[in-house]
Symmetry: C2
Subunit: 149 residues, 2 copies
Amino acid sequence: MPNHEASFSLQKVSELLRREGLRMTKKREGILRALFEAKGPMTLQEIQSAAGQQSAATPDYATVFRTVLLMEKLRLVHKVNLQRSRSHYELSDPHKHYDHLVCRDCGDVVLIDIPCPIGDSEKLIARQYGFRDLSHSLEFFGVCSSCSK
Amino acid sequence: MPNHEASFSLQKVSELLRREGLRMTKKREGILRALFEAKGPMTLQEIQSAAGQQSAATPDYATVFRTVLLMEKLRLVHKVNLQRSRSHYELSDPHKHYDHLVCRDCGDVVLIDIPCPIGDSEKLIARQYGFRDLSHSLEFFGVCSSCSK
DNA sequence: ATACATGCAAACATTTTGCTTTGGC
DNA sequence: GCCAAAGCAAAATGTTTGCATGTAT
């Protein structure tokens, strides 16, 4: 059984950082673990407190901010648009592509793992508009069943 | 030739407001015109200054904020996720569905009018997850040709 | 006359930065 | 020991609100 995790693990991130002359620290490890175990997109605050439970010491907010920024630059993490005041982040694990379904009323977020209807469009658009290195972000908004009552 | 604009005009918005006991004012008209004539998603600041050019007096920022908020509640306007610090807004004209292609480097936004591959998924998802009243937001990110050089 | 709409200024939330100290290699 | 990372606190940015004033009906 192929282990997809293996291609996107702390190990790998560690190596990636090394190659850039950067370091894998306890704090970064905690932050990454938090993201690995996330049930859905997280705010910086949520990442911070989840990271705190991973290892004893809760990282400073600025540390979380800068680490997530770094991961974003390395394209290991990306923002998710949930139409809220704070940003939410998620791992860019190529083996887990999730789109999101958000309740406009209570804000609940459901991960939907539909066979992504976008992959083909992506190539087409890249060619047509001369863009390269495409990715996309797809969110659905609606009213969930509890809020419909 | 059917006039699609007719179903989504100042007139119509005016009536909609009336029905809610609200008013169509000069300022609101300017703000709406700015949105009608938008070349792409706009920030509140951009809306403010474009509205100022529509009519002589530039509306206060708070007025723009509250007007856009109101239009959002009426579902005439929605936020677009461009992964920037400020929010961008766009008319929810049902006859013009645009998805966006954003350059990760220079931030340029291109409107793409592809035959939307999502409509079908929407119904499916609504049924499967018990959500109603679905809409979606789809953005592509990549590097544009100028930035590739 | 009565609300709704606006402007102005202040409050708030969140993100971002500067600088000092700590710690990985 | 050197340089990156972390912590702390302050600044910057963007959004939201309160209240007094203006204006449409």
